[in-house]
Symmetry: C2
Subunit: 201 residues, 2 copies
């Protein structure tokens, strides 16, 4: 049972995690320094280490807290809903998350590109279980002729990559598009893509 926290403790812990999200997502684990995080959180370095025992502990707290949030949109795919609508809604939710939570997306991207040293276990258990489940659902929908027959795993990978790309490769996209907001045309482009891929009529 965790010790009860005072309001100050809650506030400081939250400020640290918020600052750490900024710094870790922008520089990666190794590139981030405790000093940067402490300053961004408005604390001294030793004071930060009073709340979290190590740099690693902050990073772990961030990642494990985020995984749940990251899986939520896929969990929300309803087996009893209209198949095409369910998938399109999932895609839209995921794209919206890239828009609203780009730092969280980049935190994961940093971790996974470098081999997921701190989150591999969760990927091969929690994530895999959920994906296996939803892939079965998509396969059934295909076999029942409710959507086109596609490889369910690659369909999900494509959704992740297309949507997260707008957060993770944001700099590159803006370098190419200039002032135009990528999120203006992206939703329609991606919806059209999946509508054409999955429609059976």
């Amino acid at each position: 049972m965790p010790a009860p926290q005072t309001r100050i403790q809650q506030k400081n812990r939250a400020a640290i995690l918020e600052a750490a999200l900024d710094v870790f997502s922008a520089h990666g684990f190794r590139g981030a320094t405790i000093d940067q995080i402490a300053i961004a959180a408005g604390l001294s370095k030793p004071n930060l280490l009073y709340y979290f025992t190590s740099k690693e502990a902050i990073h772990t707290a961030l990642l494990s807290g985020l995984l749940e949030t990251w899986l939520a949109p896929l969990k929300g795919m309803d087996p009893n809903g209209d198949p095409l609508a369910e998938i399109l809604a999932y895609v839209a939710r995921k794209l919206q998350m890239s828009r609203d939570y780009p730092r969280e997306s980049r935190l994961f991207a940093n971790e996974i590109v470098q081999g997921a040293p701190r989150i591999y276990l969760a990927l091969s258990t929690d994530l895999k279980d959920l994906v296996d489940d939803k892939a079965g659902l998509i396969r059934n929908w295909g076999e029942q002729g409710k959507i086109a027959l596609v490889h369910p795993y690659h369909l999900l990978f494509s959704i992740w990559s297309l949507t997260q790309h707008y957060a993770d490769f944001d700099v590159q996209i803006r370098a190419v598009m200039g002032d135009e907001d990528p999120f203006e045309a992206a939703p329609e482009f991606i919806e059209t893509l999946y509508r054409k891929l999955l429609s059976v009529s």
Copy 2:
């Protein structure tokens, strides 16, 4: 004019760049150490620094050498070829590069996710110019009814994200798919996706 190099110099420089690609792509710039690179290249740390003046210099040499390679598949898209075939061939080439050169892909991914501090200029000039050019081509093809009307920039972004995902998020994909080789079904999935998106008939 660069000084002529002996065979030993050429060999050592090449070994360093090869080793650096391994280490930088796996750990990012900050996460990599000169020691790791030197050991992987079979040299001592000071000896490595005899060939490259700094860690930064190795990284820069890698990145600038790679950008050309990375743009080549897009450059190869022929304005006079069959539009759908040209785009599908580009997609196939790009996917093949993720399979053959995953370290190069992850090197770029690491750099761009963290804001492209060392390569932003090249993105906003060389890359942007090329993309502007090819986007115009794709727009023309659409307006002439040779392919479906799609947002050319988002089409290109989608190709990058879908193909590079198999290299950059390799660990996650394998955690989910287990022993199955992702590259077995990916080419067909992706080709089908773009065929359905772009066909006009």
